[in-house]
């Protein structure tokens, strides 16, 4: 697999799995307004995943759906940060804020990439991500100093570093005013991802080859 396809899959898998996790709040977010907003953000992330899978699919001679749903859990390249489950709201916001902050740095690099197609898509995604960051920042500012939120940021910090390539990590550490620590790297997947995969691919696996 080309380096480009691998990179696209990392990005796409992050956005798909995070979108899925965020959508688990649909119906049970702290307020009705937040429920609508967070569900909408989840849909955006999945939309980004789709666009990225489509680019990767062209390189790999397959389809976006096949990449999203027909791989085994071990083949996903998502960062452990986005895979975690059963987060309470403070932990959800901590992840959301850390991810969006990391994603901003990652997208900035992609936007200036020599790969015009990837740079163009990154610019498009970033125009939506601006509002995700605004939303994450609002919540983070509100929860800062809260014991559960601070504990969650501490806990998730090594995971957040793992979203980025090693050379991008110092910028993230500076942005969130933390020291760089040993990152939780991509590669190994938890049982939580396998459970998610089971649920996410259930319908598609029920009738292989069907057109939806």
């Amino acid at each position: 697999m080309s380096e480009r396809a691998q990179r696209l899959l990392e990005l796409a898998d992050d956005e798909l799995i995070l979108g899925w996790r965020d959508s688990e709040w649909t119906g049970i977010a702290p307020t009705l307004e937040e429920d609508v907003a967070f569900s909408s953000i989840a849909q955006n992330e999945i939309g980004h995943a789709r666009a990225l899978y489509e680019l990767a699919a062209r390189d790999l001679g397959t389809t976006a759906d096949a990449l999203a749903f027909d791989r085994s859990p071990e083949e996903y390249r998502s960062a452990p940060l986005v895979e975690l489950r059963r987060l309470d709201w403070a932990r959800t916001i901590a992840r959301h804020w850390l991810y969006e902050t990391a994603d901003e740095l990652r997208l900035a690099d992609l936007k200036s990439s020599d790969d015009a197609e990837l740079a163009g898509l990154a610019a498009k995604m970033d125009r939506e991500e601006v509002y995700h960051r605004m939303h994450a920042q609002l919540w983070a500012d509100r929860l800062r100093g809260d014991e559960r939120f601070e504990a969650a940021v501490d806990e998730l910090w090594p995971y957040a570093l793992g979203v980025l390539a090693p050379e991008q990590r110092p910028a993230l550490a500076k942005r969130v005013r933390r020291d760089e620590v040993q990152a939780v790297e991509r590669g190994e997947h938890s049982d939580e991802l396998r459970e998610l995969w089971n649920e996410m691919t259930m319908v598609r696996r029920s009738i292989p080859g069907a057109t939806w």
Binding site: T31, L32, E33, E34, V36
Partner: protein
Amino acid sequence: MIFAVFRQERRGQPFVHAGSIDAPDLEFAEAWAREQYGRRQESEALWVVPREAVREVHDFPDELSKTYHRVDGYSLKAKLKEARERASTAAA
């Protein structure tokens, strides 16, 4: 805090009350209004206004039935008919 949200569907059209948002402050109201009323490309722009900034005005007495204040205060039907007849007579 309750915020009233007004929505403009297309550029140049009037803003129409779309609903309300219960938010702790204007920043959250804006973020939530954006996701609730703008994410399907259904709005060109939104106005997000604290509910108490909206002054409600009502009770408009018309004790003396001043129908000439109203569009329907003038019956044009008979006059129009008359004018049409006059016009057709003149043409003939």
